[in-house]
């Protein structure tokens, strides 16, 4: 049995689901950011695998993945900055305590 497209896609789907679960269920804002990174990297795996198996000559998926990586870094930088700002005023990074505004 050889490793084919479906294996990469299953890996990608599993990683994406883990990330999504973590992003929705975790309470620590930093951990949520990490889970979002997992989701984006899961997508990267899918993109690169599709690129390799669907359009082997072109590098569309790989290029897409590079853009995703850069955007993810920018997002993480901004995310950490906002978490620092909120930690300074609240002394906490627990998202369940950020409930000044409801309904």
């Amino acid at each position: 049995m050889s490793v084919g497209l479906e294996h990469y896609l299953i890996l990608s789907a599993v990683l994406f689901s883990i990330g999504l679960y973590g992003a929705l269920a975790k309470r620590n804002a930093v951990v949520i950011l990490m889970c979002i990174e997992i989701m984006l990297n899961a997508v990267n795996i899918a993109l690169v695998a599709f690129s390799r198996y669907v359009v082997p000559v072109l590098l569309t998926g790989q290029i897409f993945a590079i853009f995703v990586m850069v955007v993810a870094a920018a997002e993480a930088a901004v995310g950490i900055a906002i978490i620092i700002a909120i930690y300074r005023s609240r002394e906490s990074v627990d998202v369940e305590k950020f409930d000044l505004m409801k309904w």
Binding site: L20, I36, L40, V43, L47, T60, V68, M101
Partner: protein, 489 residues
């Protein structure tokens, strides 16, 4: 050749250049008022380039990454106008972050660049990058005040926005995997020739479309991706709230129309399928927005829910585009006209709120009591905008609603229009409550509510827009129709 195509990107490039100039100027000069002037100048230059390109032929540039067509130019102009009005209206507000004015203006300009690219993007890669460029700048702007509410708003916006963009990206990956293409026109070619008779024959495509709709749905705040809206709108600086509710939403609708109509509009069953999807979401969105808005006590939050409801009305246009299967352009031009009227109306309402709240230091509707006597002009402007949001004559809101609902009825979405009309009646209750408080309530003090000339100018422009679109809509309708003609039919 790429160099020869650069001049077709001048609106974005010039604006980006001005944004960099603002960042650098901020570091070396003391007089911060200059920065606002430079930003406005940048927007005007960019708008000039946009106008100059209106007559140019439709082409795709940079290996079909971006489309240069009237549809994009229409939205670019709308976004530039919105950004300009926001910067004018911020003049009374920037004292709250005196040290960071340069960043503020630069970020507004950069997010405008992102949204402009988003409306022109014709490839999944460029769509994603443009979406994130506008998104990340807006995350920062939302938490700009650095107080508890603002940072909370920023964090919520960032976390939910990042999850939404990851979901969108997964949808893009699936679509790319199924078609092997990322450019929208190429995707359309492949999808059209797929040997399937319905979405259920190809679950991966179904999943891809649902994930795409979810990711974009976050941007336009349709149910069930609306939960960030009230919190972010309440916590963010008010000019940014206005910017989010108008510019970000307009760009979101532009990209949805382009992706779904260009890439997924080809087999008629597919078009009808997503048309129905948007019709159902539209009905739920407007109902939820209107019902929850009734109980709000904070005016920014109320306008937040109202903007969810307005997104619902706008989605009636989206549903029409899908159900009509490219048969006519009425749905699309209706969507564009509605966005135009919604932009001036909502900006006007928020600018009036900026002026009043800045003085009385409160966003509570109860504190607006007697504003008709304390600040008659501001109260008149706010009343006009609220009336337009309900959709009563002689304002833009009425024409826009008639236009968009007419198109929907024409294509058999009568049930949706009935829901929308009932919703408009519900919405009158909470909009008119504000009007009643302002004019019939007793003022808590005799103190006047002063505002800067810049803010008054932007508010006057918005009110003028509301009236012009309401009284002589003809030429604006013509503009919207010219903008959608590029999509064939």
């Amino acid at each position: 050749m790429i160099v020869s195509e650069l001049h077709l990107m001048t609106p974005e490039l010039s604006l980006l250049g001005f944004a960099l100039v603002v960042i650098l100027l901020d570091l070396f000069i003391k007089q911060k008022k200059v920065l606002a002037g430079v930003s406005i100048a940048g927007l005007i230059v960019s708008a000039g380039f946009t106008l100059a390109m209106w007559g140019a032929p439709t082409i795709d540039i940079f290996y079909a990454m971006l489309a240069v067509d009237r549809f994009a130019l229409f939205f670019k102009f709308l976004l530039l106008a919105a950004a300009g009005l926001i910067i004018l209206a911020s003049q009374d507000y920037v004292s709250k972050f005196e040290r960071f004015q340069g960043e503020y203006y630069a970020l507004v300009l950069i997010s405008a660049v992102g949204m402009m690219l988003l409306t022109a993007a014709a490839d999944l890669i460029s769509i994603y990058v443009a979406l994130e460029l506008s998104g990340i700048s807006l995350y920062v702007l939302a938490s700009f005040l650095k107080d508890q509410k603002s940072t909370e708003a920023g964090l919520k916006y960032l976390l939910l926005g990042a999850v939404a963009s990851a979901v969108l990206l997964y949808g893009m990956a699936l679509v790319f995997g199924l078609t092997g293409k990322t450019c929208l026109l190429c995707i359309a070619d492949v999808v059209e020739t797929m040997p399937i008779a319905g979405l259920l024959d190809n679950p991966a495509l179904l999943l891809g479309i649902i994930l795409l709709a979810a990711g974009f749905g976050f941007k336009i705040a349709c149910v069930p991706f609306q939960m960030w809206v009230p919190d972010v709108y309440e916590g963010a600086p008010t000019p940014i709230t206005a910017y989010l509710s108008v510019a970000s939403k307009a760009a979101g609708f532009a990209v949805i129309v382009r992706v779904f109509f260009v890439a997924l509009g080809a087999p008629s069953w597919l078009s009808i399928d997503w048309g129905i999807l948007f019709a159902i979401l539209s009905a739920i969105t407007m109902t939820l927005g209107n019902v929850v808005a009734i109980v709000q006590t904070n005016i920014k939050r109320m306008l937040g829910y109202s903007s969810i409801a307005q997104a619902g009305y706008l989605m009636v246009g989206l549903a029409t585009v899908g159900v009509a299967v490219g048969a006519d352009a009425l749905g699309r031009s209706g969507l564009l006209f509605f966005l135009m009227s919604y932009a001036v109306t909502n900006l006007g309402a928020f600018i009036a709120v900026i002026a009043i709240s800045n003085k009385i230091d409160s966003d509570l509707i109860g504190d607006y009591t007697g504003m008709g006597k304390r600040a008659p002009l501001l109260a008149v402007a706010l009343t006009l905008c609220l009336v337009s949001l309900i959709g009563l004559p002689p304002t833009a809101g009425l024409i826009a609603k008639i236009y968009i609902f007419n198109a929907a009825v024409h294509h058999g979405l009568l049930w949706l229009v009935i829901v929308a009309v009932i919703n408009s009646c519900i919405s009158a209750y909470y909009y008119l409550r504000v009007v009643k408080v302002m004019w019939l309530g007793a003022p808590v003090s005799e103190e006047k509510v002063p505002s800067s000339w810049a803010l008054r100018a932007s508010l006057s422009l918005c009110c003028l827009g509301v009236l012009l679109l309401g009284v002589i809509p003809g030429s604006f309708v013509g503009m919207a129709e010219a903008a959608v003609r590029i999509f064939g039919s």
